[in-house]
Point group: C2
Chain length 354, copies 2
DNA sequence: CCATGAATTGACAGCGTTGTCATATTGGGT
DNA sequence: ACCCAATATGACAACGCTGTCAATTCATGG
């Protein structure tokens, strides 16, 4: 921390050698440190002239407030946590990007906290982390964002949180989500419009709300087109690649006449591709395959995967905004619950049914 | 921060309602706060009996030191940064996991800092981040770990760093690396042993040292087997999927008789797979393809990609250990430069030459 | 021109630690 | 027993900032 500054950035700033403190700024501006503090924190009741003068001094001595001192005095840490399930790198990388993009500008730093999959045994682990990390708030992604026990715990210790999650009807805290149902509906309709009548579906992890919504969208689209939604056409997966392989084998055995398979995420769709390859089914000629998420892998598979793009980065940024504005005690200048649109990305893995 | 504790964890700890401070511990143990501080920080000159007593008190009132106060008083932040290039999610997720695994236990928290690709324009951005974030040290991954200008900057401000990087011969700071040359040599030899004589190679990003080492390993293996290392067999890539596609097209045009292609990483290998698919070349029957990294995607492609596994997590954990021990001012109890082994992972994308 | 309340500014006491230095306390060596 | 060094412990002042509240300035109406 008390490090030397890089020398001679802008022709040797006046006081620019050592990390300057609020006192230096105050002296330079000829005001009290409290006034500097007011300007830094955008507090009201500072005349425009004063604000200008102070900001100028801040710039001149390259002042950056000391996080520790701020935290100590103000009982805040300016640290927010991101809880997520280990794995799932593409998704989480994008979440991180979104959160960082917003938080940094707001003077908050991000502490990432990958945990094992949500079950009893991680709860104590989470408790410990929360206690040590000194967080001002956290951002939750699925499955954590839907895990009642965890939410109860956070509510209990009054740790503010915002969530990225599937649509749900609790009223616990702000959240941001996508319309999984609608997107699955549209994707299914897209396949139907391509002439497919027997469309298989691989469900996601039963614990994730998104899995149910996506499945419901699929069923609704079939119904809307007067197609039968037979259980033979559906297999259970858990959003993992291997579960996609297993489910598609099962599906292909139960219903060898399917001409298309809609996997609830891209990893499972990759599993379907693998199985199709093993069984000498050409994709998309013999079998159309579509996924969900538009993960990194979707464009790298061959054929490129037709899928649904989640605006993950934006979801994360909005969740951050929600969290930070609530940390600031600001009135909800944003709606506490937001629904973002999903976009179908057409690549090469689905084609007209023969 | 000054939050209530979760109620009634272990039958209502004695003083456990509010976050307790060092004073509470001192009172409970009947000693001065300084002594508590000594115990917490593992300082010498504390009798065993005293240490026990204090540790017991700490446990009884569930004490966790306040990060901000520690930072302020000790001029440390207990925050370490991880700088990396945006993109490349699989690799970076594993790096994060490795760093976290080590740092958390040591009482350090991780601040992640993705930046655009290293060029002049990110340097100021990095400077700003360093200044605001209050880091005690940073961990660098390629390309940043090999970027002289950045290292100069960090040296200039005396910010300690440790690196994950390709082998290099500077003596600037500790680093951890893998033997890219050797692994590439062995992989090439593996292909040669499968009977391949015309083996194409796709180079990585010229700025990364690993790219040169991998290429050198390939060339050396060919030479060792008395095969010609013709320039026709080599194409330039930049570690991206699209560059893999482009390079393999070029390669296949220049040297239509290649029976195997060694791509310098898995993303580019995925690009090769895509092009092979487009050109109706069956992999591995018509063309063997191998990659490097064992990224997430390697096992999800079809066919599964034969590649080289980097112990990324371990690399990151060791770099963290190096950094933290230097932050503590400990004598180098570890070698400042470490070389980790690489392992060939055989899947289904390479087979005996016809 | 003065009184009044609102807006602006400042003085100062913490916040919870660690660093420094002074003060016990201990264990040998005579 | 007695002295000295070494070891253990404690008192207290920072660290750089924010919160509180008092002091000052300003605008307004009488």
């Amino acid at each position: 921390m008390s490090r030397k500054k890089a020398g001679g950035e802008t022709g040797d700033a006046p006081q620019g050698e050592i990390n300057s403190t609020i006192k230096d700024v105050a002296r330079l501006a000829g005001v009290s440190i409290k006034t500097v503090s007011r300007v830094v924190n955008n507090e009201p009741n500072v005349t425009e002239a004063m604000r200008k003068k102070v900001q100028d001094a801040i710039r001149r001595c390259d002042y950056v407030p000391n996080r520790s001192a701020r935290g100590l005095a103000g009982r805040k840490s300016f640290l927010i946590g991101l809880f997520y399930e280990r794995q799932n790198s593409s998704y989480i990388t994008r979440i991180q990007a979104g959160v960082l993009a917003y938080c940094r500008n707001q003077g908050y730093e991000l502490l990432i906290h990958p945990f094992g999959s949500g079950n009893e045994s991680v709860l104590p682990e989470i408790e410990k982390v929360v206690q040590r990390s000194n967080l001002d708030g956290v951002i939750l992604t699925p499955f954590f964002s839907e895990w009642t026990q965890l939410l109860d715990f956070l509510d209990g210790i009054k740790l503010p949180y915002a969530r990225v999650t599937a649509v749900l009807d609790d009223h616990r805290s702000p959240f941001v989500s996508c319309d999984d149902f609608d997107a699955a509906f549209r994707m299914t309709k897209y396949l139907i419009d391509l002439g497919h009548k027997r469309i298989g579906f691989i469900k996601g992890h039963p614990r994730h709300n998104s899995a149910a919504h996506r499945h419901a969208g699929y069923v609704a689209a079939l119904k809307a087109a007067n197609l039968v939604a037979s259980p033979d056409l559906v297999a259970q997966g858990d959003y993992s690649f291997t579960s996609g392989e297993a489910a598609s084998r099962l599906l292909l055995d139960k219903a060898p006449d399917v001409t298309a398979i809609f996997a609830s995420n891209d990893d499972m769709a990759a599993g379907v591709l693998r199985v199709a390859h093993q069984r000498k089914l050409a994709v998309p000629d013999d079998l159309s395959v579509v996924g969900f998420d538009d993960a990194d892998i979707a464009r790298k598979l061959c054929p490129g995967l037709t899928t649904i793009r989640q605006p993950v980065r934006d979801l994360a940024a909005r969740a951050s905004a929600l969290l930070i504005s609530s940390l600031r005690g600001e009135a909800q200048d944003q709606q506490p619950q937001q629904l973002l649109p999903l976009e179908i990305i057409i690549r090469d893995s689905a084609s007209r049914a023969k």
